[in-house]
């Protein structure tokens, strides 16, 4: 049988910047006759202000409704070409993508460039109002009508002060969405939707030279805008804040939140590893103690949420029937103390490295869509200024040590500077941790 060495994990690319400031990155992969078009605008809910939350995401919806030279929905012609398309908004960026058969790459670029250059003439008050209602329905479906759906809103609101743009979630508040003005759309578009605030990646069955030629042809004439100043804000917690949220749930759940390292900062990858070893999968410490052995929890999960300006670490554990949140909190604190004292074991680090390597390889399997190669190249380009950051990103995980994970836990996962939210069934506020203050989220 063929012998296989450890794979070379690489994501090659070529980058150029057009005269108007648009970054263009091309990556060739000819295995399947498809091309991924992936366009990032460096704008997200962090660019909103209190009272106007949810605007960046609503705007993303409007980008699919038509542009001056194609004054109707964007799905029809691209789907008819055999393409798939979508977009998403988070705190830091908004992305739009198409995955099209090789023969439809002109179509995708024509359409992306038309809405970058000529969205406003097609944008009517009626389209705006329809999409505002669609977004309100999205919010009802994914947050209000879903168990624990409002808990994270309460956690981030407590972690970040009211004037910090991570204080609200990207979906925004329902009142703000209802109060949005059609007139605000124009200024938002002019400020954020232009070549100097955007990055285009073409990945897949396309020659590098042709990729740049097409990018120049479709986007080269769009006037450069002014690159918006970066948003700056700071957050700090001075103490533990205990909150209780009554929700339509059967079983209580505890959420722990900490302010942590920003994306790609020292400690960010280590906290990602710490999340896995504490809570994710059956090998995780808290899964073993709480779910497997003591059977006092139904599930446990954790994640380092990496963002541009700051990160936050969230750990959640759902009580099994009859278990108290107080005993769960004590067990979580004990594991965090143990991690801060001894760090991970050698075996845990070996496992984490194997998983990280495999995950990076798996991420090379698709050219397009959310998390595909084109989206990764754009993430590295927009957030690091370096599309070639892929291998250094992997190195962050390869080079992490028992000591560096321990030190990141010590630095960030402090037991007395955090948010602890008890999400409890309605009418059962007494199930919350002692001293919890009621919060209302709607």
């Amino acid at each position: 049988m063929t012998r296989h060495a450890a794979p070379v994990i690489d994501l090659p690319y070529t980058k150029r910047t057009l005269a108007n400031g648009l970054d263009v990155v091309v990556h060739e992969d000819h295995h399947v006759p498809i091309v991924a078009v992936n366009l990032w605008y460096h704008v997200g809910s962090k660019n909103e202000r209190p009272g106007r939350t949810g605007f960046a995401h609503l705007f993303e919806h409007l980008m699919f409704e038509g542009s001056a030279h194609h004054d109707s929905g964007y799905f029809a012609p691209l789907q008819a070409a055999g393409g798939q398309l979508n977009g998403s908004t988070n705190a830091d960026r908004t992305n739009y993508w198409e995955v099209v058969p090789t023969n439809a790459v002109d179509l995708a670029l024509w359409m992306e460039s038309d809405r970058m250059a000529y969205l406003l003439p097609a944008l009517t008050r009626e389209r705006f109002e329809t999409q505002r209602d669609v977004v309100l329905n999205e919010r009802r479906q994914n947050y209000e009508n879903r168990p624990y759906g409002l808990a994270m809103m309460a956690v981030v609101a407590a972690l970040f002060p009211p004037d910090h743009p991570y204080h609200w979630m990207t979906i925004g508040s329902a009142d703000d969405i209802r109060a949005m003005e059609f007139e605000d759309v124009r200024e938002f578009f002019r400020t954020y939707y232009h070549p100097a605030n955007a990055s285009l990646v073409l990945a897949g069955d396309i020659a590098t030279g042709l990729g740049f030629e097409l990018a120049e042809r479709y986007f080269g004439d769009i006037p450069a805008g002014v690159r918006p100043a970066p948003v700056r804000a700071a957050a700090a917690l001075a103490e533990e804040r205990r909150l209780v949220l009554e929700d339509r749930v059967e079983l209580p759940r505890l959420y722990f939140g900490w302010l942590t390292a920003a994306m790609f900062e020292p400690g960010d990858a280590e906290l990602d590893l710490a999340a896995d070893l504490l809570a994710n999968g059956k090998t995780a410490r808290l899964y073993q103690t709480l779910v497997y052995e003591r059977r006092v929890a139904l599930d446990v999960s954790a994640a380092q949420q990496s963002r541009e300006m700051a990160g936050f670490f969230v750990l959640a554990v759902t009580a099994a029937p009859g278990a108290s949140l107080t005993e769960l909190a004590a067990a979580v604190d004990e594991e965090i103390r143990r991690l801060e004292a001894d760090g991970p074991t050698t075996a845990e680090m070996e496992r984490a490295e194997a998983q990280a390597e495999a995950q990076f390889v798996y991420h090379l399997q698709t050219v397009g869509g959310f998390g595909g190669k084109s989206d990764q190249l754009n993430a590295y380009n927009v957030l690091r200024g370096d599309p070639g950051y892929f291998s250094r990103d992997l190195d962050r995980y390869r080079l992490a040590t028992r000591e560096s994970v321990r030190d990141a836990a010590r630095r960030y996962l402090s037991l007395d500077r955090r948010v602890v939210l008890s999400a409890v069934p309605r009418g059962r506020a007494s199930d919350a941790l002692p001293g919890s203050v009621p919060v209302a989220v709607s």
Binding site: M1, Q79, A104, N137, E144, R351, A354
Partner: protein, 460 residues
């Protein structure tokens, strides 16, 4: 650089369609009766195994709904000397991505790993599926977690709708419950039942292994043989039950049912009826018909309910394909105040495509193009290919299926679409289900042409 201005008087034309060669499938049978299908897929050094085992939730005994899915959950709780935690550790050390699906007609166990771990991965998968430990303490814990999960699902509107709708459509037929089962069914299961069910259903001659990835056919076969070649049938195991697909399901009349959810922000809707099975020769026409009606963003239902009326974040329809009689259904979640209007609009769209507003030429062209032109993108990863091939195994379709798909769909005419809509969609048999706030919506549902709303309790 001099540049010709872009012609924005119309969308650019498409170039000639790119050629694509579908992956070659090789079929093998091991001496123990296990079928193996291998596909070379070399873009990334990854390999995916999918073991398809006949059975699934349709094989659940009537008094033990949830047994199949519980068995599928139990197999990775230990094999040989390995405990559940050690199994999980072994999977993590090869970067393994392990996934279980309990379908109506079959189980599907998938493992993706790096090519250099192909033998370890296949060996581990074989250990779990053919020699699971099935220990009492693991059983007690896993069953309890499932009971607790059921309890949590009382708060999840789509889950409530799914459960109630299957029961409405199928009654007591084995397809009439979700894989997770019911509280009563789970409580009636013992570890002996789990072991017996495993022994009866998990047999090499009732299984097909897909091995897809960055190795040659003969290497993939060798890996499969080393791992699964020693799998033998349990001695003296009972004969497998008659498959659910062979049992008759009764059709139902037009009606509307309501599951009350106090102060629900939205109403979860399901509208549909039992229609036909996956192997119907009308499958391509039904695919095109549904693409026009509700299968994609630009379909009639989504354009009406989302883009025109703004009742919802999205609406989709489709067939939940099975070997036996399968349902057609619309699924959406709408603002509470729009519930009755959404039901009426959706039912009107289902009615219209049967003839009063037949598919137009441009809708037909659009639907066929959307289904065919992007078809190769479904074969990008080893896991995509393995899953596609396992569908051929599940429905006994020929290996030429992929290469025939595009010409077959392109051969569908507007007459075909209208004929299958009239034949398989039956407004007289539509069941509408609303999971929402009865105190707000019940009154308005009376005015619809679905009769008196049937009030259903939340049942787990």
């Amino acid at each position: 650089m001099a540049r010709e201005p872009v012609d924005r008087s119309g969308l650019p034309a498409l170039g000639p369609p790119p050629a694509f060669t579908f992956p070659g499938i090789q079929r093998h049978v091991l001496p123990n009766g296990l079928q193996v299908r291998t596909v070379e897929h070399t873009s990334v050094p990854v390999v995916t195994f999918v073991l398809l085992v006949e059975g699934g939730s349709g094989a659940d005994p009537a008094t033990q709904e949830g047994l199949a899915s519980l068995v599928a959950d139990m197999v990775d709780e230990g094999t040989g000397n390995l405990t559940a935690i050690e199994v999980s550790d072994a999977l993590a050390r090869i970067g393994g991505d392990y996934d279980v699906d309990t379908g109506s007609d079959a189980f599907s166990f998938a493992l993706t790993t790096l090519v250099r771990f192909a033998d370890r991965g296949a060996g581990l998968l074989a250990g779990l599926l053919t020699r699971p430990s099935l220990r009492e303490s693991d059983f007690t814990r896993v069953r309890q977690l499932r009971l607790d999960r059921l309890r949590q699902m009382k708060d999840v509107a789509p889950a409530l709708a799914e459960r109630a709708f299957l029961r409405l459509l199928y009654g007591r037929h084995p397809y009439g419950h979700t894989a997770l089962g019911s509280e009563e069914g789970l409580r009636a299961i013992s570890l002996d039942d789990v072991a017996a069910f495993h022994a009866v259903l998990f047999r090499p001659a009732r299984s097909v292994l897909m091995a897809v990835g960055g190795l040659r056919h003969e290497e993939l076969l060798e890996v499969a043989s080393r791992a699964f070649g020693g799998w033998t049938e349990a001695a003296g195991a009972a004969a497998p039950p008659e498959p659910a697909s062979a049992l008759k399901a009764e059709l139902t009349e037009r009606r509307i049912a309501l599951v009350h959810r106090e102060a629900a922000a939205q109403s979860e809707l399901r509208i549909g009826h039992l229609a036909t099975w996956r192997r119907t020769p009308d499958y391509p026409s039904l695919l095109v018909m549904n693409a026009v009606l509700g299968g994609q963003f630009t379909s009639r239902l989504n354009l009406k309910l989302r883009e025109e009326k703004a009742y919802t974040y999205g609406a989709r329809s489709g067939f939940d394909w099975k070997r036996g009689l399968s349902p057609f259904a619309l699924a959406t979640s709408v603002h509470t105040a729009s519930t009755a209007a959404a039901v009426a609009d959706a039912a009107a769209e289902i009615e219209a495509i049967r003839g009063s507003r037949p598919v137009t030429g441009s809708e037909l062209a659009h639907a066929k193009a959307a289904l065919t032109r992007g078809y190769p993108s479904g074969f990008e990863t080893a896991a995509h290919v393995a899953r596609a091939v396992s569908q051929l195994a599940l429905y006994d379709l020929p290996d030429t299926y992929f290469s025939n798909f595009v010409p077959t769909v392109n051969g569908v005419t507007s007459e075909d679409v209208t004929r299958v809509a009239a034949q398989y969609l039956d407004p007289g048999r539509l069941t509408a289900l609303v999971v929402g706030d009865a105190s707000v919506v019940a009154e308005s549902l009376h005015a619809l042409s679905f009769g008196e709303p049937l009030q259903l309790p939340v049942q787990m």
